[in-house]
Structures are given as structure tokens and as C-alpha cells.
């Protein structure tokens, strides 16, 4: 059912008559710039799950890709994510006191990275593999009752990434993307936080 509905939904975005289209960076003679905006979901991985275990649906990624050669692009991308989880019991320690009670954990992630993509095929359906290198800023909020502790830190990040660019009309595509982000971020008591980011977006090139 979903497989039938998705193309129909996407087709509704298009002017009538849109059909097969060429893909991105198919020719070394035409290497356009790609701009994409994606809705991003983050799934915490590893130790980060001890601070926030819930999947975050609040986030986005903006990406710019420059055609480098046939099937290859270099780019830059920025992302923002908000992770949130309420827990029944949490504790905060102070020099002379400890408070325990209902708690919430929040994390804000802002990232910026350079990217390299290798498009594996030509045509409207182009799977790709890539890497990203960069860093960002993380801000964590730990609140117990009405006591809040915040901490913000810079971090470095590296990520393998893979995706699919589905060109639905010339110069326009739908992008699916997954990136597994390794970082040096310290969030709460967690060091070297990592997460899986999944994107669904629109690309213009």
C-alpha cells in the first residue's frame, strides 16, 4: 500500500507530464551544484542511550554538494537536532547536596561537516556512499525537579554516510540518507557520543 502511495504523493508535487529524468553528476561535462533540505531523525547509539534513549524526530539537515567529477561530489552540510527524554527518577549532585526526583534530559546538537559522495549509478535512482568530517556544538540539559544543569561543549565528528537520490524530474530529487556519527562530544556523563541520523529531504540541482 505504502509503495503505491508514495509515488502518487510525489507525483502530486510535479507538473503533469514529468517522467524519467537524468541523475546527478552523470556526466563530467555537467557538474551542477546540489542543494538539499532534509528532515532528520536521530537514534542515539552506544553510551548516549544512557542519557537519552528516545529517537528524536526534531531535526533537519541542509546540504550543499558541488559536482567534482562524474559520480563524485564534495560538499558541506549543517544539521540541527533536539533530543528529549523524561525519566521518572534522576539525580543531580551538588557540593553539599543531592536532589532526586522526576527528571528530564535534553540535548541540542549543531553540526557542520565537509562531505564526499560517490554516486554508484546513473539514472533517476542513484545510491551513493560517502563520508563526512567536521564537528559541532552540543548543549545538554539535565533537570531534576526545578534544578537545571546545562553544559555546552565543542566536539569533533566523523561519519560514514550512505543514501539514495531519486530524481523525480530534471533537477529535482528526493533524498534518503543515513549517517552514523562518531563524535568526541561529552553529553552528561557520556563521552564520545554517537548516533544514527536518518534523513528524508528534497534536493535541487
Amino acid at each position: 500500500m505504502t509503495r503505491r502511495l508514495l509515488p502518487l504523493l510525489l507525483a502530486s508535487l510535479l507538473p503533469a507530464g514529468a517522467a524519467r529524468a537524468d541523475g546527478y553528476v552523470e556526466s563530467s561535462r555537467y557538474l551542477p551544484t546540489l542543494v538539499s533540505v532534509s528532515w532528520e531523525t536521530v537514534i542515539p547509539q552506544g553510551d548516549l542511550r544512557s542519557f537519552v534513549d528516545r529517537t528524536s524526530f526534531r531535526g533537519l539537515q541542509v546540504e550543499l554538494g558541488f559536482g567534482l567529477a562524474r559520480h563524485f561530489s564534495l560538499g558541506i552540510s549543517a544539521s540541527w537536532n533536539w533530543l528529549a527524554q523524561n525519566v521518572a527518577t534522576g539525580s543531580l549532585e551538588f557540593p553539599d547536596a543531592v536532589i532526586t526526583g522526576a527528571a528530564y534530559h535534553r540535548v541540542e546538537l549543531v553540526g557542520l561537516r565537509g562531505t564526499f559522495h560517490w554516486y554508484l549509478t546513473d539514472g533517476p535512482m542513484q545510491p551513493w556512499l560517502g563520508v563526512g568530517l567536521g564537528g559541532g556544538w552540543s548543549e545538554s540539559y539535565l533537570a531534576v525537579a526545578d534544578q537545571v544543569r546545562t553544559a555546552g561543549r565543542w566536539y569533533g565528528a566523523a561519519e560514514p554516510r550512505a543514501g539514495l537520490l531519486w530524481t523525480i524530474r530534471p533537477g529535482m530529487g528526493v533524498g534518503l540518507q543515513a549517517r552514523y556519527v562518531f563524535t568526541t562530544a561529552e553529553i552528561g556523563d557520556v563521552k564520545d557520543a554517537r548516533w544514527l541520523a536518518l534523513d528524508l529531504g528534497l534536493a535541487l540541482y
Partner: protein, 222 residues
């Protein structure tokens, strides 16, 4: 045929889709930092800096639970035998021996022969600011248990936790070290809003007491 807006049907569909996608993206960019977890049920424990509890062996625990209320300006008490028994049990489990049970309604003329004095207070009134209970008649001050003429002090900065009615207060004072008219409270626990209806023997109160000791592993003597 284009309408007056100049857009074809496909164009209008595209515009609607763009608006929808923008709204979804905007929604994805929201945060929920506003609002905080409730204070009710929170347990805060304070410890006097530099105090080791291994040097204390005996306790005198107040025989009644002082009740601080707006309604009664006199010295009144809450009925909470299970709470007091649970407190005794925790203290015994931590190695402290109860040697006296002074009645705050009629304090003894001389200090009890104990290293520590334990006060229990039921705060049925919501006040503003830390130690707001000090001025209420239902509060049994540590010196009221036999140390007449002494003042007492809290050697820590209080957290600014919003006060709630139905809050339990347990204080442990250094009776052995009382001198020059001063008694120092060396440990205190506040359990916020655990007895809003006045059931000071209820499960939330007892669970909060358990939590207060659980988060104070240093509160023990060999």
C-alpha cells in the same frame, strides 16, 4: 485554466506541498525546554561539609513529628508512628544506636546523652524560600530537645527548590559538638509534596525516607 492568482492546478498543488513541507520542517525545529519536571516527590539531602559520620554512635530521636501548619499557631504534632519506626530502622541499619526519645512537647531540662539529635517535621504549609519553617510554632528546633538557650545553624547553601505543602523534613544535629551556644545541623532531608493530604505515614512518605537514606551512603557509623 489559470485562476486570477496566475497558478495552474499543478502550480497550486506545488505551492500547497511547499507550504506543508515548510510547516513540517518548522515543526521539526521546535524544542520542548519550556516546563520542568514537577517538584512533588523530589528528595533533597544536605550534608555538612567536612563532617564524617563514623565518629558518631548514638542518637536521640524526637518522640513526635512536629507539624507546621497555617491553621494552628500553637505547637502541634502529626501522628506518624510508622514514619518514626521507619526512621529508627534506617538509623539502626546505619549503625546508630538510639539512646533517648525526648518529647518536643515537654523538652527535657538537660541535653540527652547522645551524639546526634534527630528532628522530624511535617511541613503542611507552603512557604517561600529555604528554612521558612523556622518561624512556625509547630517546628521543633534542635535545641528544643534539651539544649535550651542554644541556636542552631545549617552549614550549607540551600537549593532554591519550590516549596510544596506536604513536605517532610528530617534533620540530624551534632549534639556532642554543641558548644558556645551553637548546634550545627549536619544532615537534613527534604521530601517535597509527599503528603499533600496529610498522610504522614503513607507510602510516598516512607518511600521518600528510603530515598533520602539511599542517596546518603556516607550517613553511617561502624
Amino acid at each position: 485554466m489559470p485562476r486570477r492568482s496566475g497558478l495552474t492546478r499543478a502550480g497550486r498543488t506545488g505551492r500547497a506541498a511547499t507550504v506543508l513541507a515548510s510547516a513540517l520542517l518548522a515543526a521539526a525545529c521546535t524544542t520542548d525546554i519550556a516546563g520542568q519536571p514537577g517538584v512533588a516527590g523530589a528528595v533533597v539531602t544536605y550534608r555538612a561539609p567536612g563532617v564524617g559520620f563514623g565518629g558518631f554512635a548514638t542518637v536521640a530521636r524526637a518522640g513526635r513529628v512536629g507539624l507546621v501548619t497555617d491553621a494552628d499557631p500553637g505547637k502541634v504534632f502529626a501522628n506518624a508512628p510508622t514514619l518514626l519506626a521507619a526512621l529508627d530502622s534506617h538509623l539502626a541499619a546505619r549503625g546508630f544506636v538510639k539512646v533517648a526519645e525526648p518529647d518536643p512537647a515537654s523538652p527535657p531540662p538537660a541535653p540527652p546523652a547522645a551524639d546526634l539529635v534527630v528532628n522530624v517535621t511535617a511541613l503542611a504549609v507552603a512557604g517561600a524560600g529555604a528554612t521558612y519553617w523556622n518561624g512556625f510554632a509547630g517546628y521543633s528546633q534542635p535545641p528544643n530537645l534539651g539544649f535550651a538557650g542554644y541556636a542552631w545553624s545549617y552549614p550549607w547553601p540551600w537549593l532554591s527548590v519550590t516549596s510544596l505543602p506536604g513536605t517532610l523534613l528530617v534533620e540530624i544535629s551534632d549534639a556532642r559538638g554543641a558548644s558556645a551556644g551553637q548546634m550545627v545541623v549536619v544532615w537534613a532531608a527534604l521530601a517535597y509534596g509527599v503528603a499533600p493530604a496529610g498522610d504522614w505515614d503513607g507510602p510516598p512518605v516512607l518511600a521518600a525516607l528510603d530515598q533520602a537514606f539511599a542517596q546518603s551512603p556516607y550517613l553511617m557509623t561502624p
